[in-house]
């Protein structure tokens, strides 16, 4: 790719001249069994156009009916975000022509969202320690997802230059919740981190609620990032909207890039255009999309085919009773129970290993061992394979079994790693891999002693050195024994046996 033509100001200079204002619009696809307004399966994937019916295809005469579970999930999301729940609200039609919706409108909520006025506290790591920010929530509303377009013909596979498009409506009508923040001001140079921390916390909250699998890589959590810059002492300026930023890291990068880009525009005497921009994972840049100079006319009006939603306070309170522990509270509790440092906790969180470690400990594994496996070996392998830690085929039960075998001396750490290698390669469970690969500690003393004697015979000067006081020379013999036993001996035990054999105190 050629060098970018987009001018940027250095981040620190941009922050010295301007105050960034953020707004985040996050879409969460609910993990319901059926769609928002019809009984079609909401399962991810499926052959194209097999999860469709007259309602989600917008066929004449079809009538939508609201999914009760989607309403409950939305209310629980609103409550967990400290929102007020509307006692009466309606759906609205958002009219537009685009083939991703066969009805030519999307059922959404307009001026009567189900949940309003909440907040989410997030923590950002700074040089002076952790700092808490309160992100205020404007609204949480319900709508339906759209179909998936594939652009065909042309040679780029992109919408520009395409000859025509193909549409799969399996996703059309999946319950979609939009969470909109109020303007986030005052974050200054921490703005990119606050944006990332907010989306992370929101994701963990949704996961704890069990309302969505919140996979940014699969599109069940999507984020639009709005950024504007205010010259010091002035209210905010014109904002850009960067659409569908689909990883946590990209959220942070998109905010940073927009701050640097807009600062360059403004300080060069230009003006920021209100427009949609697209984020590019490869370059970390945003490029201009549709201009919003002319506000779109969606002609919202109350959806006549759906009656209003009016949650009773009894129902809302009953749902409040089902809220799980808030992730930040849970983190603090686990950190205290496991007695680990802020840094160790941060490592677990960054590795996305908290749930995995907790369930491993629940299987009886020591907390230090559980943390070591997930943030060390398994994180390395997951990164190598480019998959999420949770997608590794290793389970808490596997780790518990391996740790049992280590404890009773049948496996060493090194052998344990080979066992997991086998488990991850699909060779079976722990015992099957141990069996098939013949991974057992060579433990009986006579075998080890034979190997020690052989090694001493091969390196006749070493015994003398050790007996003469150079105990560190034992390493050469231990190494030879480990090699002879193909690494399947316990090195510490070999060393002890060797010193005993030579009559030397370790």
């Amino acid at each position: 790719m050629s060098a970018s033509a987009i001018e940027r100001m250095k981040f620190d200079d941009a922050l010295a001249a301007f105050e960034p204002v953020l707004g985040l619009e996050t879409h969460v696809e609910l993990g319901t069994a059926s769609k928002m307004f019809c009984s079609c399966s909401a399962e991810f994937g499926g052959e194209p156009n097999t999860h469709v019916c007259p309602v989600c295809l917008g066929l004449p005469g079809s009538m939508p009916v609201v999914n009760a579970s989607a309403i409950e999930s939305t209310i629980r999301m609103g409550l967990s975000l400290n929102c007020s729940i509307a006692s009466w609200c309606r759906f609205a039609r958002k009219n537009y022509f685009y083939p991703d919706m066969p009805k030519d409108y999307q059922v959404s909520q307009y001026d009567e969202p189900l949940c309003v006025d909440g907040y989410l506290d997030v923590v950002v790591a700074t040089d002076d320690g952790p700092r808490e920010f309160r992100v205020e929530i404007e609204r949480v509303h319900m709508e339906e997802d759209t179909g998936k377009l594939t652009h065909a013909g042309g040679d780029t596979g992109r919408i520009h230059g395409a000859d025509y498009s193909l549409v799969d409506y399996n996703r059309a009508g999946i319950p979609l919740i939009e969470i909109v923040t109020k303007p986030i001001v005052g974050a200054g140079e921490l703005a990119p981190l606050v944006a990332r921390a907010y989306v992370t916390e929101l994701r963990d909250l949704m996961r704890a609620l069990g309302v969505s699998d919140v996979r940014m890589d699969q599109g069940s959590l999507r984020c639009d990032v709005n950024v504007s810059l205010a010259p010091s002492g002035e209210p905010w300026g014109t904002r850009s909207e960067t659409k569908n930023v689909n990883s946590l890291r990209s959220v942070e990068r998109a905010v940073r890039f927009e701050i640097e880009r807009q600062a360059a525009v403004l300080s060069g005497g230009g003006r920021v255009v209100q427009e949609t921009r697209h984020f590019h994972e490869d370059t970390g840049e945003t490029t201009s999309g549709r201009s919003k100079e002319h506000a779109e006319e969606y002609r919202y009006f109350p959806e006549p085919d759906l009656v209003p939603v009016a949650p009773t306070s009894d129902w809302v309170e009953e749902l409040r009773g089902t809220l799980p522990e808030v992730p930040s509270v849970r983190r603090a509790r686990l950190q205290a129970v496991w007695n680990i440092s802020d840094l160790e906790m941060q490592t677990l969180v960054n590795a996305e290993a908290l749930d995995l470690v907790e369930s491993t400990i629940d299987h009886g594994v020591d907390q230090a061992a559980a943390r070591k496996w997930w943030t060390g070996e398994f994180t390395r392998i997951a990164n190598e394979q480019g998959i999420a830690l949770t997608d590794l085929p290793v389970t808490a039960a596997h780790i518990a079994r391996v740790e049992e075998l280590i404890a009773d001396g049948s496996l060493t750490d090194k052998l344990a790693r080979q066992v997991f290698e086998g488990v991850i390669a699909g060779e079976g469970d722990v015992d099957a891999v141990v069996q098939a690969r013949g991974l057992v500690v060579v433990g009986d003393d006579s075998t080890l002693l034979a190997a020690i004697e052989q090694a001493l015979a091969d390196q006749p000067d070493v015994a003398e050195k050790i007996q003469g006081g150079k105990v560190q020379a034992a390493g050469a013999i231990v190494g030879a024994v480990m090699k002879a036993t193909k690494g399947q001996a316990d090195a510490a035990k070999v060393r002890t046996l060797l010193l005993e054999h030579l009559g030397v105190d370790g």
Binding site: N67, R90, P102, A310
Partner: protein, 98 residues
């Protein structure tokens, strides 16, 4: 007559992706004016203390249990599609508009 203008009709036609001839535009301008005028009679009766009605039947909370059921057979879906390719609806190029 309510004063619906030609420009309003043209604007609406564009939003609805309808191409109108001059005659049609004139025709709909008259028709829409008459319709709006008829509807305006409602506000002569409904005072400020009567909220606008969006739903004629006072009913709320009509829900369905979250149970997935099979939808249409794809052959039937395809039969209703004007154009079809690779198990998907084929639609004309999108960005030529505006």
């Amino acid at each position: 007559m309510a004063n619906i203008t030609r420009e309003q009709v043209q604007h609406l036609a564009h939003l609805a992706r309808l191409e109108l001839t001059e005659e049609e535009t004139a025709h709909y301008t008259d028709q829409l004016s008459a319709i709006v005028e008829a509807v305006e009679h409602v506000s002569e009766v409904a005072a400020d203390d009567i909220p606008p009605t969006s739903h004629p039947v006072p009913m709320t909370n009509v829900f369905r249990e979250d149970v997935a059921r099979p939808g249409l057979d794809r052959a039937d879906v395809q039969a209703g599609a004007p154009s079809w390719e690779d198990d998907r609806f084929r639609v004309p190029r999108i960005l030529d508009e505006d």
